[in-house]
């Protein structure tokens, strides 16, 4: 099946890195193309969020800020419950390319192991338990 852990895209943008950087790392920039509303505290460990119409929201944590080359953040995996600790890491890399920018985005962490990493052991217990329950039911039925 091939579980995708990593998504990577590189695009050429006909604007200089400074301009792309502002679009990626300011509330005004993010709200213009990514979310519909946004806020960002641009420093490693700083928090950021975006909101969309319909109530969907994304909470981000800024991880890397190396202006105007690297911007990284983690965010929640869409679709998982709010209390799930798993997050993916998104990193934008900006390189000058002529008068424009070569922009690469890499998102990793989709295939990280869930909290319940001891599933097999757990399943072993569950099966044992189901078997014991069956035996208990048989015993009680026979009594």
């Amino acid at each position: 099946m091939g579980f995708p852990d990593r998504i990577e895209r590189t695009v050429r943008i006909a604007h200089p890195p400074a301009k792309v950087w502002a679009a990626l790392t300011t509330a005004e920039g993010l709200a213009a193309w990514f979310g519909q509303e946004a806020a960002i505290d641009l420093r490693p460990g700083g928090s950021a969020w975006m909101r969309w119409s319909g109530g969907h929201a994304a909470d981000m944590r800024v991880e890397r800020v190396e202006e105007p080359k690297v911007f990284g953040f983690t965010w929640h995996i869409f679709g998982l419950p709010d209390d799930d600790p798993r997050r993916t890491y998104v990193e934008f890399t900006l390189e000058p390319a002529g008068a424009g920018t070569r922009l690469t985005v890499v998102e990793t962490g989709f295939a990280q192991l869930p909290e319940e990493a001891y599933r097999q052991a757990h399943d072993g217990n569950t099966e044992g338990w189901a078997k014991e329950l069956g035996e208990l039911a048989d015993y009680l039925d026979a009594a």
Binding site: A23, A111, P114
Partner: protein, 112 residues
């Protein structure tokens, strides 16, 4: 040996591909833990087929057996494998192509 994330996701998608198993999982999600007899009364599936599917789903770790009323075993949906499948879907649903197009459009529309 660590659990194989891909094998877990595959079990979820395999289970969901069968209409009867999908109906059983949907019923457990919608109405909570139930015995095979409860499910047979609510779904257009024979008691025998339900027992067979529940055994399969239990073996795959998608449902878990627990003690119910009157010594009947009842079955509960396990959320952990479903969350693994959701991780897979999240990767497929992440639309970076659309977002990057929007970024280009935004920059092109800015004056200067």
């Amino acid at each position: 040996m660590p659990p194989d994330i891909e094998a877990i996701a595959e079990q979820v998608f395999t289970a969901l591909a069968d209409p009867s198993r999908r109906a059983i999982l949907a019923e457990l999600a919608a109405a909570g833990p139930a015995t095979a007899t409860d499910l047979a009364a609510r779904l257009p599936i024979t008691r025998q087929a339900i027992a067979k599917h529940l055994a399969l789903l239990t073996e795959a770790g998608l449902v878990t057996a627990e003690p119910g009323e009157r010594r009947r075993v009842r079955y509960r949906l396990r959320s952990a494998p479903m969350r693994v499948a959701q991780q897979f879907l999240a990767a497929l649903a992440r639309d970076w192509d659309g977002s990057l197009d929007a970024l280009k459009d935004h920059l092109d529309s800015q004056a200067g």
